[in-house]
Amino acid sequence: MSKWLLPLIPFALFLAFLAAVPGASEPRVIELPLGTSEELGTRLSFRLDGLSILFALLITGIGTLIYAYGTRYLAGRTDLPRFWSYFTLFMISMLGLTLAENLITLFIFWELTSLSSYLLIGIDHERPEARDAALKALLVTGGGGMALLAGFVLIGSAVGSFELTSILAQGDLIRAHPHYIPILILVLLGAFTKSAQVPFHFWLPAAMEAPTPVSAYLHSATMVKAGVYLLARLLPALGGSEEWIAALAVAGALTMVSGAVMAVLATDLKQILAYSTMSALGSMVMLLGIGTPAAVQAAIVFLFAHALYKAALFLVAGIVDHETGTRDVRSLGGLRRLMPLTATAAILGAVSLASFGPVLSFAAKEMMVMAIAAAGEWRRPLEIAIYTSAVLLAAAAALVAIKPFFGVIPSGPRNPGGRGHDPSAAMWLPPLLLATAGVVLALIPGPITAALLAPASAAVHQTQERLYVSLWHGINAPLLLAAAATAAGFIVYRTRERWIAIAEPLGRIGALGPTAWYGLFLRGMNATARAQTRVLQSGYLRVYLMIILVTLIALVLMANAAGGGIRLAWRLGQVALYEAVVAALIIAGAITASLASSRLGAIAALGVVGYSVAINYVIFSAPDLAMTQFVIETLTVILFVLVIYRLPRFSVLTPPPQRVRDAVLATLFGAVITLLVLAAQLEPVRADLAAYYGANAYVKGHGRNLVNVILVDFRALDTLGEITVIGIAAIGVYALLRMRPEVRP
């Protein structure tokens, strides 16, 4: 029942966003009346324009298919409610991220996607590899998120607003701002970590520990594109400068090539796809770096095409894993006869991955080549990069589609390959639909271009440049080069063993790579945490107390030294006899308590101090305080008596030097507090406060007891906090007493 309802959630959202498509070329801002803080400049405002609608449709559309696929793929898991809650949380966060108009709102959703990705990667939390992978993803993307927040705050202070509308309109101001370079570095850190750019890429292949629907959805079609989305979104505000082009072109090209290299060397289907995703993300970043309208258009078309075919290929990998029990291409073969429908989806997806043939990604690749040809001084290096990765990606595509489905069935007892069959329609239909869409939309590119892709790219490059998507440009140099690259890719695929042998020694360099740095960082962090915990958390109450007192004394003295010393009020004019008696009682009680040789004596002496303080309140006409103090003192003595029973016989265990130290510390602390109280006397009392409460207590609060009216009405929120603390403290005491380990003999 619920199995069929679940995909309806994203599907309903998909239809809703589809309805917004006709207005995609005009940005609309929608503000919700919640969560607005004018002082902080945060608003829960959302933006509907070409770019955000494109992303929203991808998220909900692919989401619908993956929900349907997942209900079958994950059948039999016992934690499905948890899984789907996290999954839906992710979908909503991703929608929020791409629809946000306010940068702070965007940031919150950004972090939510990192968080839900962490939860989904680690869903099999019994396996240490899943936990490590989840932590890795969280630390890398979360660390980037911190940088991003700082970047956003700098943008906000430069522009004076966090709203995208005003930020996008003031690109010149930001680019000329003295903070431009820090802003750029911080925002790029956020985007590069999220979109797995070198050297922050290593979390993405590790994230393949997650169940396949998660990999297909988060780590290929949607979440990893959040960084690309952000770069596209902020291109009008930050892009165009020398630094922007250099940073994005270099990082993007490096990621594109290294991702393609690692894709060919991998043997796990999902790893191959993860590395090729990384490569694709790199090419999008590179194109956004070039930043010309043509490059932006190429990036958007490629982003769309990639989301379709990569999700399809991941789902195929999931089916292969599900049916045969392995994802290792070395032990797979001949599946074409056993699962013809899955094989069809795989072939179509692989043609898209190789970007050669009647597929949308081919059109995108052509646009990419043309955009690079116009990239001035960057042209040569980027052309080398794109053709290198084209060769390697074609080899990876062959590895994904030819080896498992057409390859020789490996023999041997340990080989699970060569069995299985097409799963139910809920599983083979989504990848087939996605892969077919890549072909159909390439053959009839008109409608989708006009309705979706053109408004999306126009929202980024903000010019009138027309978008023209076409498969056939005649026989020209790019076409021949693409054909040559694909052929070369096939040769690389056939001679793969030899390339792996060559790459083997290079792998040792990887031991010095980012993964090693990450491990070093993690170990360092844990060591630091352990060391400081050993110092600060000794487990002895007296040490905690000492640290608190010393810190307080030091801070108060420092603050006073900085403020030009302390001034005291000595107003000992008239002291009535009874006041002096009460004061003497307090002093005598305190001295007796600290010198007492039995616990009961000390408690009784403390009781004298407490009651005398209460008398003090009576003298200075604070009956409420006095009443409370009396009852509290009584209860305290009762509690002490109850506790005393449980303590061992009183004896002096501390050596004299320690006692002297404690006495000095106690005296010092008492002196500091006394000084503070005397200094506070000099501060003028806010007369208007007393007058306000006096005038309004009865009129507005219907009470004559000012103290009580303040407690339950004027400042009721404070009281609510206090009683919550009281409740929690009581539960804490209860837990401490009940869950105590057995008393040692």
Binding site: I632, L642, H702, N705, L711, G727, A730
Partner: protein
């Protein structure tokens, strides 16, 4: 401690003390008192009972589980805050009405319920500490 005098006295004193604590709670808005003081007074009443009898007897006399008192108190205080919110003000805004005839009107408002919440939390918390201390001791 099994003193016949204390036990007999505690039997009669406890209801009186509890009554006094409620009196303190209710007069609090106009005269010294209030939920906090009232709650502490009620707790001392039970403490007296614990001393005269034992924790088990006191627990029986309280009838209600202290956990429940804390939770209920917090919910009442929180709920009284929402009344103000739903009648158009901010959270915890006092809403007042009155009961009684036109000659002897008594104002009644959400702060009273808030104070009752405070009262219950304070009783619950003190009782929880007192009872868990004494129960532990009796076990050993």
């Amino acid at each position: 401690m099994s003193s016949l005098i204390l036990r007999t006295a505690a039997r009669y004193l406890m209801p009186l003390l509890l009554l006094f604590s409620i009196f303190t709670l209710l007069r609090g808005h106009n005269l010294p008192g209030g939920g906090f003081t009232g709650g502490l007074l009620a707790a001392t009443a039970f403490a007296l009972y614990i001393f005269a009898w034992d924790a088990a007897a006191a627990k029986k006399a309280v009838r209600i589980d202290p956990h429940f008192l804390i939770g209920t108190g917090l919910l009442i205080a929180l709920g009284s805050g929402f009344v103000g919110m739903f009648s158009g003000g901010a959270f915890l805004t006092g809403v007042w009405g009155s009961i009684g005839s036109s000659e002897e009107k008594t104002a009644i408002g959400t702060p009273l319920f808030f104070d009752i919440g405070v009262y219950l939390v304070v009783i619950g918390a003190s009782l929880m500490i007192l009872l868990s201390l004494t129960e532990q001791e009796e076990k050993e």
